[in-house]
Amino acid sequence: MTDDIAKTVRSFIGEHVQDGEPGDDHDIFATGSVSSLFAVQLVMWVERTFGIAVHPTDLDIENFRTVNHVVRFVESRRAAAAPA
């Protein structure tokens, strides 16, 4: 599951960075790989693609800085939503 999520996230981010496909720990916002407007696009894409609600308290850029950060965020929200 994690591999599938990572592949999907890597592919989406890779389509939007200006300097080639980034490593999974590459901070795309600190390095100018993307414009700031991509942050909003990424949040909305995560909601739409993985069917999870991004709440106001989730709107911390630390959840979206790298491929790995996004993957961890998606997994945590899916785990929280899963039936016990």
């Binding site: 916002f29 600190a30 390095t31 100018g32 414009s35 700031s36 407007l37 991509f38 942050a39 909003v40 696009q41 949040v43 991004v54 709440h55 106001p56 308290t57 709107l59 850029i61 979206f64």
Partner: protein, 405 residues
């Protein structure tokens, strides 16, 4: 006075309420006041507006709903984030401006225009001096004094015209032709007012009043390859923004003074410089014993296609921090902002570093009248009561009135 209830398609709630409130007056100049009408739950279901004259409420409602649906509702619900809060226990009085007027410390010229006299003027210069000390010590900035008028092309290429059209103030002149001058001179000689007889005779509109100093700096370096990896420039000057409503105080002026410092260079440098300046500014505010806070903020983008995304990304990436000081019980104003621009202005103005790469930029600006006003609200205008770093610099200023808090 007329009142209209403008219904929203769906309730607006949470962080969107502030964004709605800051836009209502820009919907139309006819609106002179408004109230958010709560619906069921915690949302707002309508805006009740007041106007001086009868208006087409249906058309006004349509404009409001369009702005809400395109600029407010699509914004991410980023929660407020405070970076620092002062421990100073100073409660400003709510009647400061009336006292300043009575003692002749300030004089109202018109909407959004206030003249400053002693000792407010001395405070403004002293506060600017304290900021310049930080700028010199920390950054060794090059200082310029720019002409007042800014080429319209500078704001055009920066994106300002499409992001903040509501603030624009153009500086027009009569078209250079003897027939124009003659017709104009004859007509104004026969009239008591001239406002509606001017604009159609003006050309070209190639100068405007600057909304802040940094556009002068970006224009100064347009197309340049900077010799140093990092460059810091500071300037103080008259800044102009048309606002939908003006407070009858020094809180929101159309014509005011900004001390602005621009950082050009690498991504790491501009971010570190922006944050270092913010820390030094907070230290200064603490040294002055002023009550306030620093928080994540966004610019008043309006009427552009990307408005919602611009506001949301600024907040999410914390590109803008604001320093607020208290001016009345429960009320504060932003006296300074600390902004990261990424490569936006480097790209827009074609500014490159010595390695040929587009520079990153940041800027830090202080509204000096606002800073001064916050000090007067918290300390009054008897110089003897001011905190030492300020009082020492204002020792020789004339002292009208008492201004005791």
């Amino acid at each position: 006075m007329h009142s209209y209830r403008l219904a929203l398609d769906e309730p607006v709630a949470g962080a969107h309420l502030d964004e709605l409130s800051r836009r209502v007056h820009y919907i139309s100049e006819a609106i002179i006041g408004f109230r958010l009408v709560p619906g069921a739950g915690d949302g707002v279901e309508a805006v009740e507006v007041t106007t001086d004259h009868p208006v087409d409420a249906e058309a006004l409602g349509k404009k409001l709903r369009y702005v809400v649906d395109t600029e407010v509702r699509p914004q991410l619900h980023t929660p407020p984030k405070v970076l620092w809060r002062s421990t100073a226990d100073r409660t400003p009085h709510g009647d400061t401006f009336a006292g300043l007027l009575a003692d002749g410390v300030v004089h109202e010229i018109g909407p959004g225009q206030v003249a400053l006299g002693a000792p407010a003027l001395a405070a403004l210069d002293a506060l600017d001096g304290l900021l310049r000390d930080i700028i010199r010590e920390e950054f060794g900035a090059r200082e310029y004094r720019y002409p007042t008028l800014l080429p319209v092309t500078a704001l055009h290429r920066s994106g300002y015209l499409s992001s903040f059209p509501q603030h624009m103030m153009f500086a027009a002149r009569l078209n250079g032709d003897v027939d124009t001058y003659r017709a104009f001179a004859e007509e104004v000689g026969a009239r008591e007012t001239v406002g509606d007889r001017v604009l159609h005779r003006c050309a070209p509109v190639d100068r405007c009043l600057p909304p802040t100093m940094c556009y002068h700096t970006f224009d100064q370096f347009a197309g340049a390859t900077l010799p140093d990896e990092n460059t810091v420039v500071t300037a103080k000057g008259g800044s102009f923004r048309h606002e939908s409503r003006y407070h009858r105080t020094l809180e929101r002026l159309s014509d005011f003074t900004i001390r602005e410092t621009v950082f050009l260079g690498t991504a790491d440098f501009v971010r570190e410089a922006r944050d270092r300046f913010r820390r030094r500014a907070v230290e200064l505010v603490e040294q002055l014993g002023l009550a306030g806070r620093c928080e994540v903020a966004s610019d008043p983008f309006f009427a552009g296609a990307a408005t919602a995304a611009q506001v949301s990304s600024q907040r999410l990436l914390e590109l803008k921090h604001e320093l607020h000081l208290d001016v009345a019980p429960g009320d504060s104003i932003s006296i300074g902002s600390f902004n990261l621009h990424e490569k936006h202005f480097g790209d827009a103005f074609g500014i490159k570093g010595p390695d040929g790469a587009t520079v990153y930029s940041a800027c830090v600006g202080f509204g000096l009248e606002r800073f001064t006003y916050a000090v007067l609200c918290q300390y009054g205008w008897d110089v003897a009561d001011w905190p030492a770093p300020l009082a020492e610099r204002c020792a020789t200023t004339p002292q009208p009135g008492k201004g005791k808090r």
